[in-house]
């Protein structure tokens, strides 16, 4: 809208065709249940309203239309219209820490004068190496930006966010996690989780075998922890987030007792993502399960194990 009272002015509008997957993701929806204190703080230029964002896999084409709307009888001089597709890592702890790992520019119209409303079909076929991610200190975003440049009275822009998710094949090697841990003459347990790698909707199944119990255990829980590790060198920012404390035993077992473990990852509040080993050398995201035994004096005995998460389906 023009403030100088020339009536309705020209506007740019980006419209995306439905993604090949047909999936959309609600973004900006607050978590219904969150185990963390206040939830992640809103990121800069993150719009607060809930919106549906199409989901693309790493190789999906992004198609759509850019429409330029001109009021009747007006003309528009411009220096060119371009559409960029940007993949960007934003570091929250570091103002201006914005790193574009992908930037694709398409010139959709050469400089000139436009007398009528106009539509430009768009098609981006490019590799999207990372998943979209909204973490505590970091986020990975993909978005389309159309710019109409003008000599004066500023540029016209339009932005559209997209969501990228990678579907991985079932890992070929998926060994169980098995380990005997303990404190000498005090506690000896052997725990076993069936696998090391889990799909986001899988169930962690395992058992805890008590070989020696000399402490008075009150209960035992399994915590799912997400660790975001951003930066490098001296400026590493680690942020651990306990997503759930899932009680798996009440009371004190005796020697020889074997306690089953069954944790539905689907039931873990806070959005689970796959494990990200290295995102553009900027950050990594890892998941751990932490077995915690609490005794009657509220002392905690724990053992943490990394698990690898992978995505089976979009969503």
């Amino acid at each position: 809208m023009s403030i100088f009272g020339f009536g309705a002015s020209a506007s740019l509008n980006l419209t995306l065709s439905p993604p090949p997957s047909g999936e959309f993701k609600d973004i900006g929806k607050p978590n219904t249940v969150s185990s963390t204190k206040d939830g992640p703080p809103p990121l800069a230029n993150d719009s607060p309203e809930v919106r549906k964002v199409p989901i693309y896999t790493g190789t999906d084409k992004v198609e759509g239309t850019l429409s330029l709307t001109l009021p009747q009888g007006k003309k528009l001089d411009h220096l060119g219209i371009k559409v960029e597709l940007i993949g960007r890592v934003e570091m929250f702890y570091d103002r201006g820490g914005v790193h574009d790992f992908t930037s694709l520019v398409k010139e959709v119209d050469a400089p000139g004068t436009i007398y009528d409303s106009k539509e430009y079909p768009l098609s981006f076929d490019f590799e999207k190496p990372y998943e979209s991610y909204r973490g505590l200190n970091v986020r990975v975003r993909y978005f389309l930006r159309a710019t109409l440049s003008r000599n004066y009275s500023g540029n016209l822009t339009a932005e559209k966010e997209i969501c990228v998710q990678h579907i991985t094949n079932e890992p070929e090697i998926n060994n169980s996690i098995k380990m005997e841990v303990g404190i000498e003459d005090c506690l000896h347990i052997e725990f076993e989780y069936e696998r090391q790698k889990y799909g986001l909707t899988d169930v962690i199944v395992g058992k805890i075998f008590f070989l020696l119990v000399r402490i008075k255990i009150k209960h035992m829980e399994l915590a799912v922890i997400r660790r975001e590790s951003a930066g490098s060198g001296q400026n590493i920012y680690n942020e651990s987030e306990t997503l759930i404390k899932y009680e798996i035993m009440d009371g004190a077992p005796v020697r020889g007792e074997c306690i089953p473990v069954r944790l539905f990852l689907k039931g873990v509040p806070g959005e689970l993502t796959p494990t990200y080993r290295n995102v553009g050398n900027r950050f990594s995201l890892k998941y751990y399960i932490n077995l915690v035994l609490v005794d009657e004096e509220d002392r905690r005995y724990f053992k943490q194990q990394e698990v690898t998460l992978w995505r089976k389906v979009l969503g």
């Binding site: 009440d250 009371g251 005796v254 306690i259 089953p260 069954r262 539905f264 039931g267």
Partner: protein, 838 residues
Amino acid sequence: MSAQEEQIKYLTEATKKVKEHAFYMKRAIDANDLDTTLSLAADMLRELKTSLLTPRNYYELYMSVLDSLRHVEDFFASLNAAGTPVVEIYEKVQHCANVVPRLYLLIAVGGVYIKSGEAPAKDILKDLIEMVKCVQYPTRGLFLRNYLSQTSRDKLPDTGSEYEGVGGNVKDAYEFVLQNFSEMNRLWVRLQHMGGDKSTRKKREKERQDLKILVGTNLVRLSQLEGVDTDCYRDVILPEILKNVVECKDTISQGYLMDCVIQVFPDEFHLATLETFLTTCTKLKEKVNIRTILQSMMNRLSLFGEGEGRIPPDLDAFRLFNDCITKILEERSNLDLAEILRLQTSLMQFALKCYPGRLDYVNYCLGMCASVLSATKSESLDETSVAEVEELLSIPLSSLALQVLDLQQYSELLTYLPYENRRQVATILVRSTLFSGGSLDSVEKLEKLFKAITPLIKDDEKESSGAPEKDEADEAALAEFKEEQTLVARLVHMMKSPDTDVQFKILSMTRKHFGQGGVKRIGHTLPPLVFAGLKLAHKVKKRELDAVKVQNKLKALKEKQEKIEQERKERQAKKAADPEYEPPGPLEDIVMPDESAIPKPPATSCRKVFQFLHEIVTAMAVSYPDLSLKLFLQSAVAADNCKFKAIAYEFMSQAFILYEDELTDSKAQLRALVLMVGTLLSCSNFEKDDYDALITKTTQYAAKLLKKPDQCRMVTLCSHLFFVGSAEDANHYHDPKRVLECLQRALKIADGCMASSAHVHLFVEILNHYLYYFELHNPLIADKYLTGLIALINEHIDSMDHGEQRTEVEGMYRNTLRHIARKKEEEETKDKFKSIVV
């Protein structure tokens, strides 16, 4: 705040919260909102996480939670009916982060899941039973598992159940229950070791007792499975249960579960597994009361034996029980004597009920006790042991009665009891002997019996306090003593031998034993013996007479035979002299009866029996003169009946001596005199001189009575002694002069009674006697005496005071006169009576 108030506070608070959550939860259910329902249900169930409540109060809370949980179950079922697959709910409830609410919800869905048939029952049950392991806190675990047990109760794939088939079979069903049982038992046992020191042990044990039913319910479930048959029980179920029992090494659990097994499973199962069961008993902890376990098993089997069933003959239950007991005795040093005795008592009781014919079993048990007792060195037994021995010896009595005397060990055991307890046992023995109604027909039997009941028969040798003193204040003891002696006395009536000789031996022996009883006892025990003797005397007499008859017959036969023999010889001689001689006819052949068939005369003569009686009564005479006098008189009548004149006289004279020496009480004298007169009148075989002596003496006694009216009456009575029988009777004795003397003497005495105005009465009585003799034609009783007497009475009766006494006299007198008037009218007596002036 006291612990109890605190408990109430906790419970009230928790219950209130449960109600609150339940309220909102129901609203969510009404709104068909699964997620909210689950979250609120979890809130509600979280209250069950408390460790503050005692088991009892926790139960209260549990019940109120379960109440609301039913709505959740219904909700799940309705969701399923509306098309939601149960498996989705089954997964969803597992998202709950707290283990206790999660598992309650899982079980709730599990029930619906099984019902829906979406998955085989056995798989769901397996999953549930695995998952509930996550609660290891004893109380919470027990209640959670109880909820599982309750929910799955009607959903087990038992034989004949709708879940059988795809859902599994009975094996899956019992394995599920057995596993739950095993885990619950372990949790229950663990409760014992939940910290705390010795001071809280009692409390803990009490709490555990409150929870035992939760564990026991599993056994009930097992017993309700249709598909479990005897084989399955023997091969799988019981061994598994017993394995748990033994391995838990917990006293309370072992005791309770063994008892539970006995109570919940059917008899047939027990019979098939008795050996296994008993072997397990020997493996239990020392503190477990094995006796009560064995006892209830024995009771169970004996009830079965008494009912329709029979213990199969190839199952030697007695031996099995005995082996078990023997083993326990060997292995356990902590058993006290009383407990050992109780064990044997139970075994014996079992034998008595299940093997009624096997006296050897009973004897065996008694023997075991005897050897245990003889092994204890201590001089005297403790009180409980004494009570046990008493019990042990009393039990067989009710069913065996006298048969116990055939058990060698019985009497031996008796000797271990103190006098007082032995007396109790003896009383029961006598009672059951009397009740059994058998007969005591041999000396040996009696010997045993008397040995066994010695405490009733004589005083304790060590202490003198056998029979209570008469003047003792303790009337109860006296009454008891009397009752006991009466019981002993009643035994005499059971002594019945068909052979008089044996019977005499029996009585003599009894006499010997009773004789040791001392003064207080013989008063009760000897009289029946006297009567038994009298009965015997009659029998012997009859046997003697029979023998004489037979002998006479034999003699006659022999004479006849001799005659015929003579004849034969003569005929032979004649034939030798004259070959032509023809005998006049054939000679009769006399067949002598077989020697053995001839009834033998009794070895004990009737006379001897009377001697025996004489001796008994004499023995009592000093202490019980009144009684003895009667017995002498009774014996005299009997002897007279048997025609022993001398003996009868002896008895009479003994009675008279007693009268003279011992009877001082005038009332007793009067009573004795009446009896004496009666006895004399019923005897009929006295020599005349003897009779003279006796009646003269009697009349003298009568005249020497203290009170005049007594004198008068007795003298009148004695007059009859002089006028006995009619001319043809054996005991005919008429002495009219003496009769008149007596009556006149009586009148004279009566006349002296004027002061007490009893005289008129006496006059009328005497008048009656006059009349009697007048009618009998006593020549000396003339009409003038009657007329005079009537005039006398008329004269005195008017001066009598009006009152009861006078009315009575007048009545009697009127009747007498009426009699005379009647006689005057009767044809036969008209002439004789007309001279009497009224």
